[in-house]
């Protein structure tokens, strides 16, 4: 497994200063052991069939004997192309984006691509910073979350796209509403305004006329804000009174509890249904309602977003919006692969979601 440095070649003039590697086994080393040149080993690695059977066997032995590990830096630099897809997601601790990452990873890995993931913590500033860092790897394609970016990031993305690097925005899909600017990049996700409207419609349909939306406490969770705005518009349009609250910072379950407390303390009198920016908030509220002896849905209906696995476990089970979390990743990866290998330009896709009506919003 170790590498024997051959004595210096006899005839060659001694180089000014050899700065030989880190003792790692190189293609050269393998080639020497196999009695061929490095290019032959390189070829064997790419496609064993192109070298003679006997040579292949010797190379195989040499490979095993030396424990060769190809140097990706060198390979990528030499080939000029990269098999790296860089993805920027708000976070990974949240199962939402982790599943998207899994989807990307599953499809890309099967195709021999490397996935480089960075998380932005829902900060556009950090996104730009991370993007700059990722760009240093000269990725073959870029995946970012949502359509809002810092201006510097926007410029970098536009430059990349101009240089024929596919760029996909995930977790959003603008559609073709009036007043919406045309999308700059391919989008794979769903329309948050539609979801917001559907959430409002669901509550109105159950007869609620005083409703609230509890927005994410994360300032830069623009998609949550957008759902909230659409929810409020639609509810008002349907003749309801709407209150919009913002979740306090800190543990999200606790935040949900607190908000429910606020609502229950008659600070928001008459509210009979609450929609939340995410299921964690809604679960916190659901548990707090139980603690306070508040009947759900009889006295207060609760509606979540994201359909986390805990939600359907609680009693009453939480109504929520089921999202194509994993599918967004898979679809994006497939799109990217088509673009990279077949030159087929990536096209925006609206992925389906459904509002799962459960007990927490069941009409009386």
């Amino acid at each position: 497994m170790s590498k024997s440095n051959p004595p210096p070649a006899d005839a060659a003039p001694p180089p000014r200063q050899a700065r030989r590697g880190h003792g790692r086994v190189t293609l050269q080393d393998v080639a020497e052991v196999a009695g061929v040149t490095s290019i032959t080993v390189s070829r064997y690695l790419r496609d064993p069939a192109v070298v003679a059977a006997a040579t292949a066997a010797r190379i195989r032995d040499a490979l095993a004997q030396t424990g060769y590990v190809p140097n990706k830096q060198a390979g990528l630099l030499a080939s000029g192309r990269s098999n790296i897809v860089a993805a920027l997601l708000p976070n990974l601790s949240n199962s939402i984006f982790a599943e998207t990452a899994q989807g990307l990873s599953d499809v890309l890995q099967a195709a021999g691509y490397e996935l480089l993931i960075a998380s932005t913590g829902y900060s556009l500033e950090r996104e730009e910073h991370q993007l700059r860092a990722l760009l240093g790897w000269h990725p073959a394609a870029l995946v970012v979350t949502g359509r809002r970016h810092a201006s510097g990031a926007l410029q970098l993305l536009a430059d990349a796209q101009a240089a024929a690097t596919p760029v996909i925005e995930v977790w959003d899909h603008q559609g073709s509403e009036r007043g919406q600017r045309r999308a700059r990049f391919t989008q794979i996700g769903f329309n948050h305004r539609e979801v917001g409207r559907a959430m409002a419609a669901h509550l109105l349909q159950a007869g609620h006329r005083r409703v609230a939306y509890v927005d994410s406490g994360v300032a830069e969770d623009y998609r949550a804000h957008e759902r909230g705005a659409a929810f409020a518009d639609a509810a008002r349009g349907g003749g309801a009174q709407v209150t919009v609250l913002t979740a306090p910072p800190g543990d999200v379950f606790e935040a949900g509890r607190q908000v429910l407390g606020e609502i229950a303390r008659a600070a928001k009198p008459g509210v009979t249904a609450v929609a939340f920016a995410n299921d964690h908030l809604a679960c916190g509220a659901l548990l707090e309602a139980a603690r306070r002896g508040l009947q759900v849905p009889a006295q207060l209906a609760l509606l979540g977003f994201g359909d986390f696995s805990i939600s359907r476990q609680l009693s009453p089970a939480l109504s929520s919006v089921q999202l194509p979390r994993y599918e967004i990743g898979c679809e994006t990866a497939r799109s990217l692969l088509d673009a990279l290998r077949l030159g087929k330009p990536a096209v925006s896709v609206a992925l389906p979601w459904t509002l799962a009506a459960r007990e927490s919003t069941a009409p009386a």
Copy 2:
């Protein structure tokens, strides 16, 4: 932002075949704009103070004008050293390991290192595969989870360590128990046998004499198995009868529910306390107990592991083991940085955990 290819040099003989890059801006391009050579720009990038003020200003302009993004492949290849730390974790969707990743990332990024993460899905086979792939980046250090690895992976890790690449095993710490082989690599985590014993002690102390351990349904979650074995040993040693069950596959909350069903259906008569491999299982059981009208802890005490944020929200609140999830990441990163920059060999650390006793195991 775009790059102007200068006309070919006048005197030089034309190269056989130019294979100029992908249109990306290089150090060379910046240098031309600034009227210096590439090495000067390189120096400026490393430390702006080493070039003359006037030169620095010109370079700064050129940098901005060209939108230069350094090529990491080339830089790493040339310098021979890498600022990459590669980490292999069982998964990222689970908040447990995501927090460790966050800890690693936070500390490493501040120090200018890159974190490359791959997930193994709790499969040693996948771990070996992923390790091989990561090694291609020639990382400066390696982080793996636990002390069990496929034999091939073990060999790769040993080789890396022999080549002075620090290797740290996280989420485990063997300590110096009898019958335990000495650790091969630095370990940063905690002792799962100790935790298993503490869980047993906690239940025995509350007076339970018939207890059960619900092991993880994930076959290769060796740490959970180890806690279970230690739990059983300790409980038996304390004079209790022990049943060990294994969670069925599928949704973890559902698995917890099912297992509780099994226990409640008098299939395991007399069991008064159950410890679980993780909080999700325990939460599922807690919710199922409520559904069945089984009093917790009066009729059945439940004890989790991991202290997920939902656990303390349920009623009764779940007793659980609080883990240094984030700290494992930070401490590992710090250790690695010391090893890489100061040459200080990484040393194993047992990080503290605590058993948070809540209502679900409160003695009558």
